[in-house]
Symmetry: C2
Subunit: 211 residues, 2 copies
């Protein structure tokens, strides 16, 4: 599997999206699909789709397009849809609460199973049916609930400290919603979503569209 590490992050982020659309096409009974049809449904240009798919070898044939069942099987395997991933949420402030309530309900394969917040009592409390413990119990409860990765919605000043503790516990990855640029060991995966940066990027696109 190691050679797949070179797949660009932008491609990686599109994989779950491809999977969702291909599921829809399969449900509609389609047998094959062209990159043009995929492009129109997903609003991604077809050159990008062909390049993305090329990272995974010959998924289609020229002049024929892609076999829907073959794609379905491929993405299902690639994205491990049959295995549930247990997630810990660290920091139950405004954004953390929203994520707890949302809890990725449409993804049957990912689930927040435990949360941590500095305002929680030592023996824990329930929020949106998920147990929330004091961060003093992070190491103990993370393992007890079988979490594999963490969503980080703490304050920026606590972010690196939490990342260090997660690294020491051999957590596999962090989805970082803080604006901090975190340092983690190479063996850990890190994705950062900085909402301010996203908004500023959109404003930049708007300003540079205007003449």
């Amino acid at each position: 599997m190691k050679q797949e590490l070179k797949i660009p992050q932008a491609t990686t982020k599109r994989l779950p999206l491809y999977y969702r659309f291909i599921q829809n096409f399969a449900q509609e009974g389609m047998e094959r699909i062209s990159s043009k049809e995929l492009s129109e449904a997903m609003k991604i240009d077809s050159a990008t789709i062909r390049r993305d798919f090329s990272y995974f070898g010959a998924l289609g044939k020229k002049g024929y397009g892609y076999d829907v069942q073959h794609l379905l099987q491929f993405f299902s395997q690639t994205l491990d849809q049959h295995e549930t991933t247990k997630v810990a949420l660290i920091g139950v402030g405004n954004l953390g609460s929203a994520l707890l309530k949302y809890n990725f309900q449409k993804n049957h394969n990912t689930h927040i199973v435990v949360a941590f917040d500095s305002k929680a009592p030592k023996d824990g409390k329930m929020i949106s049916n998920i147990p929330v413990f004091h961060p003093d119990l992070l190491e103990e409860k993370y393992a007890e609930y079988g979490a594999e990765l963490a969503i980080l919605t703490v304050s920026p000043r606590s972010a690196q400290k939490m990342a260090d503790r997660l690294a020491a516990m051999n957590a596999k990855g962090i989805l970082n919603f803080t604006p901090e640029r975190l340092t983690v060991p190479d063996r850990m995966q890190l994705l950062t979503i900085d909402l301010s940066v996203e908004l500023q990027a959109l404003i930049y696109l708007i300003r540079n569209q205007e003449v």
Copy 2:
């Protein structure tokens, strides 16, 4: 400005981040900086930094690096930091409430000025000091409060309908937090942040790291 439209979206998203780090370097009194130093501080590889900067012409000199004040001025102009952008938030559910409370406080140049929610009374109510109106008043209040773009945190089934209304009002852009793939006119900018997709991308990276 039209030629700048070809800058990749991944580069665009890094611009606010570059600006933030360069501000820090300027405050520390640094006069010049190499792509290697920027790379270490930002945890982005230096080839990416050089490629990103190359889109904006000759910002640095070989063997010298980049002039911090020059970069500062460049990013400040490019990102329009002196102009405040007024934003409307549509959909005050869990995520919408979190964004209202957060309100991009660290960005002095962007501010949510008005919000809309189907549960709000016709004459509006205040949440986190921001007026929230019923969506029936979208066209009227969006204009009255001078919003230029919208953050969309409505339910998926309302998303395209709201996007159509925003398009008819000549809104400049949408930051879409719904999982819907929206259709908007070419003149509008659209950025989508699908939290499930981000989480699945992280899980994919983790699974494919394991042998």
